[in-house]
Symmetry: C2
Subunit: 411 residues, 2 copies
């Protein structure tokens, strides 16, 4: 939680955090600013004091509305003069500005840097700053280990409620999609509309975006709506021009966020319209059983990898290949069981079988076992987002039926 | 254009470009991959040969669909073994992977790096790589000067048509919003719906997102719908809970992109519902006159700053303060005339009065003069997106009326 940042900074021996970039779609910055409209610049967090946001004059009111301490780089640092001094080289001017700021706040030691931003431009600035200030250490931190990432692992009540609200939107849209699909007729094994035209994956995805927008969510990363062979490849998003068959697996994975770039939800159901062939039902039942077994085993303060390994062992006992035995396989169980979720759709903790993350109370994770057989034209994944509550109970934030067969309304 | 990349690399004395990050909402990567669903990793471009994209096994089919040469970091480089060798430190493993790749392609010289990505994590990787390979120069490039940025300045016909298509969507939604606003009734100077409830800016913004989604666009950066005093602060986005008055300026600035993170359009109109006070009409006419004068003066191969300076001089001649005389002002004309637009909403060329960019045929720019008087509760901006055609004509990509007064339908 945010209240952990000072302690985590001390443990990492960091004197300051420097966060770069806009306030939206940039988790480390959004964590401080919340959903604001700050297009650029940076934030400085020193131990034991409130973060300071540095903005351009045009964004003065948006900056003030964050409740952070704010500085105007024109009014407070005369940035135009710095740009002249730097012969109009914006990286040189940024470095001059940062030099002034670090001197003002007497920061001489170790600075952890983060923010989703154009890498090359800021690398040039930081390289200049490093040459200017050889005694200041400006450190990149590992994605899963940085102070802000670690603070973000545990969520406070307001964060839980925002993620849950996104879950309500997400599952409502999933329900809308189920109703939409099953309201169609079937011709030659494919869904058709009243005019007899085939419904395509592109049509469905357009509806998904529309219904998410109607409910106030944003879908910056798209969704997976993958049929048959595509369903057997976990990250295939589905081919827009493909028609939608009955009796084949459809993996529908949807991960929208709050409009403006806030908290995410992540959710997957696998459907067969009208009916499911026996071999599909078999892998669906295997996935569901593993889901339930592992879900009910998950406890706080345990290594996350234990559950990935357990999942692999359960699938292997049922005769499915897994990446535990061979990381190069493309059939069977080929990904991680879970990941943390919050301001990023994938964040700490990691459930990768070689990582050391421990599952902390207060974290929000997905649970998403799956089986993939692309050459047999099928894949099944079931995914919910769940909160490891402070009392040690893993609570699915929003419940939704896991049935694989969706009956057609006109059948 | 893309065909300029090899020449630009040579001019910058770069042996390779290394582009980091996902394919969506990451202009330098999207420029090579187009709208794909590649969640991470990197791309390598060497002079005189096709770019190579490096992907994870789950994204093999999405990578192949880009038409680029592709490499699977598991199959082709045994990344799991690299991770073991790196004691599971993912930055060390990334550096080992990059070391292998650079050796394979015999890249020993200067590498330009770009991509919108978590800065801290990749800084750690690059710092490790620099220590491993002290003779390889890994260079950050200035935002406006990088090879890929410079290539992107000029657009080919297919890019123009994609931006124009976004313009058609954008202006259609602006038309929808105008119709929606003017269909309301007025009570005590504010818009009300049939139930007599005040319409709020939040309601309108929700509709904007919805109508954009309906037409297949995405709105990752939100929109500005700012009334009265907020309209007088160029980047104020408007307060969601505020009601919508008649007879006051509304600055409506909308900058959506293709769904999935592609090309942007940027467009602003200023409206007064029902009627406009005389002082508003006066600044509107000043802005419109400057818009038309400057627009018709814009020629290719000239320094962009000339038009910013001309705009300032025209406004000053009409008695308005501008940032040419004092960069710290908040009244009058307080921003740049224009900016390039494409896969980023703001890209090269820069029209900042101190920058040296030249306006090249084939570039797409905004034209957006404005006047702001927050303490008088008003602001006016008019913005179109325009193409500097190869024949030297500046063509507004989609025309739309510039009238300030929107008559209410029931008045």
């Amino acid at each position: 939680m945010k209240t952990d940042i000072d302690r985590l900074m001390k443990e990492a021996n960091l004197d300051a955090l420097l966060v770069l970039g806009p306030s939206a779609h940039n988790a480390p910055m959004t964590y401080f600013t919340d959903l604001a409209h700050l297009s650029e610049l940076f934030l400085l967090k020193m131990s034991g004091r409130k973060a300071i946001h540095f903005h351009k004059p045009m964004e003065r009111e948006e900056a003030a509305a964050t409740g952070l301490e704010t500085k105007d780089i024109f009014v407070d640092y005369d940035y135009p003069a710095l740009l002249e001094q730097a012969n109009r080289d914006s990286n040189q001017a940024q470095a001059l500005l940062l030099e002034k700021v670090l001197a003002e706040y007497k920061i001489h030691g170790r600075i952890g840097i983060s923010g989703k931003i154009a890498f090359g431009n800021w690398l040039r600035t930081i390289d200049i700053l490093r040459r200017k200030l050889p005694n200041v250490e400006i450190l990149g931190e590992n994605r899963l280990r940085s102070v802000i990432t670690q603070a973000r692992v545990t969520k406070d009540d307001s964060e839980i409620e925002r993620i849950r609200a996104m879950g309500r939107i997400t599952t409502a849209v999933v329900g809308d999609v189920a109703g939409y699909l099953t309201s169609h007729s079937v011709k030659d094994g494919y869904l058709v509309n009243r005019e007899g035209e085939q419904l395509t994956i592109g049509n469905v995805k357009r509806k998904i975006n529309l219904w998410l927008a109607m409910r106030g969510a944003e879908n910056p990363k798209g969704s997976i709506f993958a049929v048959g062979r595509d369903a057997g490849i976990p990250h295939s998003t589905g081919t827009a021009s493909d028609p939608i068959p009955v009796g084949q697996t459809i993996v529908f994975d949807i991960y929208p966020c709050e409009a403006g770039g806030g908290y995410f939800y992540d959710f997957t159901r696998t459907w067969c319209l009208d009916h499911a062939p026996d071999d599909v039902l078999q892998i669906y039942e295997d996935v569901l059983e593993v889901y339930e077994t592992v879900y009910s085993a998950i406890r706080p303060h345990k290594p996350c990898r234990d559950y990935q390994i357990q999942t692999c062992e359960l699938f292997e006992a049922k005769g499915h290949p897994t990446i535990l035995s061979n990381p190069l396989i493309t059939d069977g169980y080929v990904h991680s069981l879970a990941h943390g979720i919050g301001l990023d759709v994938h964040e700490a903790p990691s459930f990768y079988s070689k990582d050391d993350d421990v599952l902390l109370p207060g974290s929000v994770i997905t649970v998403e076992p799956g089986l993939y057989y692309p050459d047999r034209g099928m894949g099944v994944r079931i995914e919910d987002t769940a909160w490891m509550r402070p009392d040690g109970v893993l609570e699915t934030l929003v419940e939704f039926p896991k049935d694989i067969v969706l009956k057609m309304q006109r059948a």
